[in-house]
Amino acid sequence: MYINACSTISHQNSFQNENWINELVPLDIKSELITPDYKEFIAPAALRRMSKIIRMSLACSKDCIQQSGTETPDAIIVGTGLGCLADTEKFLNNTLTLTGLIPPTSFIQSTHNTIAGQISLELKNHNYNITHTQNSLSFEHALIDAILCLNEEDSNVLVGAADEAIPLLDELAKQFGLDEITHKLTSGASFFMLSNNKTEASKAQLVDSYTVGLNNSSPGDIIDDFLKRNGLTIGDIDNVLSNTFGTVSEFEIMDTFNATPVKPIDECSGYYFTNSAFGMHLGVEMLAQNSSKRILLYNTLNNSNIGLTLLQSLEA
């Protein structure tokens, strides 16, 4: 299946900038989310009550619609690790501090499926609409659902992932003793238009995605099995893009992949539960710029979960 559009809002200059992968800078303590003017994508009346995660997701979705020329996707599928945190925090604070009725907006918008729901409302799309939340594997679960849809009767699927950081997360991170530079908690959203049809907009191919939760096996064996089911060995992979929260050492990851170059994405994306979607956009652009033929995304953000996603160039 083909990836006919990609759109990412992150701490990199990634939104509507095809050259962003050549402008990557490692995050530092001052790095901030680089956002577009949301009024170009969302009507002010709707925008006023949308939190950061909804704004990012809607802008990326509409950008994908624009890039791909697919106005009515057959499905809208979203992955999110922690969902709409800002509205959840607001709602919980209201329940603790207010007496009487609780204002409804933050409650309505606190649920994880608000993201996919708001996208469908904005696009006036009544097709399959679902949200996957599976810790660090949320994006991969959304991808697997999208692959299943495309293997059945759907032709075009809008799939993506988003998570938002709120100041409370930084406070919690400090209490866990996490360094805010090496473990910078960030927000980000990446969306893609997947299709069974190759078009002029096609950038790369999505071959397969696979997850293992609460893993007890050797990562090397899992990776070998995944590649084997796609008729490949590690020697067929040109680049590995990996994310880890530091619980798996870089040496261990390098060792797993032998001579295949491994590029860590965390230093550019920061940490959020669905930063593997950032990695997928990065991988797609690397393939589109002909620097690789096959890229494996290796998600070990949570070291007991493994997510594997295989991308290949249009020519491969």
Partner: protein
């Protein structure tokens, strides 16, 4: 009454996140829903909560809301007649 109208306008702007609207932009007789300020059904729920929490007025008949929430004038009239 003028103080109440100003207070209501400030509360509407704050509670409904009307980012680009100032108190001066809301005329006393401007329709709040449909045209005018362009509020929607979620805003109506927020206004019901505002009436109950801030002015102690419980709306028992939802049909009443259509009349009460027409304008800042109609809201302030209703509040001054019913506030506890």
């Amino acid at each position: 009454m003028e103080n109440l109208k100003r207070e209501l306008k400030e509360q509407i702007i704050e509670r409904l996140n009307l980012e680009d609207v100032n108190v001066e932009d809301i005329a006393d007789d401007m329709p709040l829903f449909g045209g005018g300020l362009g509020l929607d059904s979620i805003d109506a729920l927020e206004l019901i909560v505002l009436l109950e929490n801030d002015y102690g007025i419980e709306l028992t008949n939802p049909e009443e809301g259509k009349e009460i929430f027409q304008t800042v004038n109609s809201m302030s009239d209703f509040i001054s007649r019913n506030r506890k």
